[in-house]
């Protein structure tokens, strides 16, 4: 076993401990401070990890520019995510707002604005100041219009009793007007009149409101005739 100061021992290189080896590999031991025999090794390791030279950095400009471009592309690709979210919210809004407007659940200014906008694209919604119809006009049946006018009809044409009353037996939506008429005139009606009123209701649904009174009168008369025929057929 050689002594520590044996020149041959130094030439062969000393056994180095774990900590020294780590510091050598990290370039923290300069050649002069290296263990015996390892100064050249320390020089090699320090040189390998030396500061970059200008030659090695000659492509820094284009490489950094390429990296910036790559990062920019990546960041731009992320934006459509937020844009898509915003678009989704907008679409949802476009679906919900007309729905609320149709149900007249929006505040008056908003309701009017939405109605105006939608009217331009051919969609008619109720205005905020338009009174809500008691019945459901959206059914599109003749009785719907007839109901709204049934009370008027009853007032203006007392001799044509209970158009609404008769219609109320035909269409549930007409029940209110029908009952009013019934209160006034229902007791005076017979079965034939009822039949006439049914006919009248069908006619009224197909005609303008202003004409409905007359039409209902006619219908009532026609209905009487029709009812007589029916009664004959039954007999």
């Amino acid at each position: 076993m050689s002594r520590w100061n044996d020149p041959l021992h130094e030439m062969r290189g000393a056994r180095i401990d774990e900590g020294t080896l780590d510091r050598l590999l990290q370039g923290r031991i300069l050649p002069d401070d290296a263990p015996p025999g390892y100064s050249a090794v320390a020089s090699i390791l320090v040189a390998a990890a030396s500061r970059p030279t200008d030659v090695e950095l000659r492509l820094q400009g284009p490489h950094v520019a390429a990296a910036r471009e790559a990062i920019g592309r990546r960041n731009r690709r992320r934006r459509p995510g937020a844009l898509g979210l915003a678009t989704g919210l907008l679409v949802l809004l476009l679906l919900v707002v007309p729905g609320l407007a149709a149900a007249k659940l929006l505040p008056e200014p908003a309701q009017n604005a939405v109605t105006t906008v939608l009217k331009k694209v051919g969609i008619t919604l109720p205005d905020a100041d338009q009174p809500t119809a008691p019945a459901s006009p959206s059914r599109g049946e003749p009785g719907g219009t007839g109901v709204a006018n049934s009370s008027d009809l009853g007032t203006h044409h007392p001799t044509t009793p209970s158009a609404g009353a008769k219609r109320s037996s035909v269409e549930p939506g007409a029940s209110q007007g029908g009952q009013q008429d019934q209160g006034e005139q229902g007791g005076q009606q017979d079965q034939g009149e009822q039949g006439g009123q049914q006919d009248q209701g069908e006619q009224g649904g197909q005609q303008d409101q202003g004409e409905q009174g007359d039409q209902r009168d006619q219908g009532g008369q026609g209905g009487q005739g029709g009812q007589q025929i029916e009664a004959d057929q039954q007999n």
Binding site: L25, S43, A49, L57, L59, H63, N75
Partner: protein, 183 residues
């Protein structure tokens, strides 16, 4: 490098100075590492790895040591990809022995002390050591990685890495000693 967290944050936003800072700390080491493994394509591999790092900055989480390990994982993956591609093309890799045979050696210690260049040192390491030993030494020296980080990167146990690096330095020392005493 300045505070890594700030540099990374700025670099993720595309800040040129921050990217240049990262570039100076990584790219030359990438080139040296790739030059030791795939000499003919070192700059291409390093450039690809640098772009990979830049693109993936947003996903990195960790401290400076983790960052180096992460970056060298990327460059090593690039090296392995190139090796696979090269193998498919049936081209012959350069034999390290050939590199060693063509190198002129004189008084190694004097040269090392006076004008050692990084590439020269790395060539000496790769030509003297086995592939495993050279890779461990280069990852520890160039990547400034710990034993455990190198073990993770190479898929080996920490004990194996310690043995490899011990043997590597002893072999390197012996080779340099022979060069010194050889007339």
């Amino acid at each position: 490098m300045a505070d890594l967290e700030h540099v990374l944050s700025a670099a993720r936003a595309g800040d040129e100075d921050a990217l240049a800072d990262l570039y100076r700390s990584l790219y030359p080491r990438f080139v040296r590492y790739a030059g030791a493994v795939v000499p003919s394509s070192a700059e291409d591999v390093a450039a690809d790895a640098w772009l990979d790092v830049a693109r993936s900055l947003g996903r990195f989480r960790g401290d400076e040591s983790d960052f180096r390990a992460w970056a060298f994982t990327i460059v090593r993956r690039r090296v392995l990809d190139l090796r696979r591609t090269t193998a498919r093309r049936r081209t012959d890799p350069v034999d390290p022995a050939d590199l060693r045979d063509t190198r002129e050696t004189g008084n190694v210690e004097d040269e090392a002390l006076v004008s050692l260049q990084a590439s020269w040192a790395i060539d000496l390491i790769t030509s003297t050591l086995s592939n495993d030993q050279a890779e461990v030494v280069l990852l520890r020296v160039l990547g400034d990685l710990s034993v455990d980080q190198v073990a993770d990167l190479l898929g080996k146990r920490s004990g194996t890495i310690r043995v490899l690096q011990h043997r590597a330095l002893r072999r390197l020392e012996a080779a340099l000693r022979r060069e010194r005493v050889t007339p």
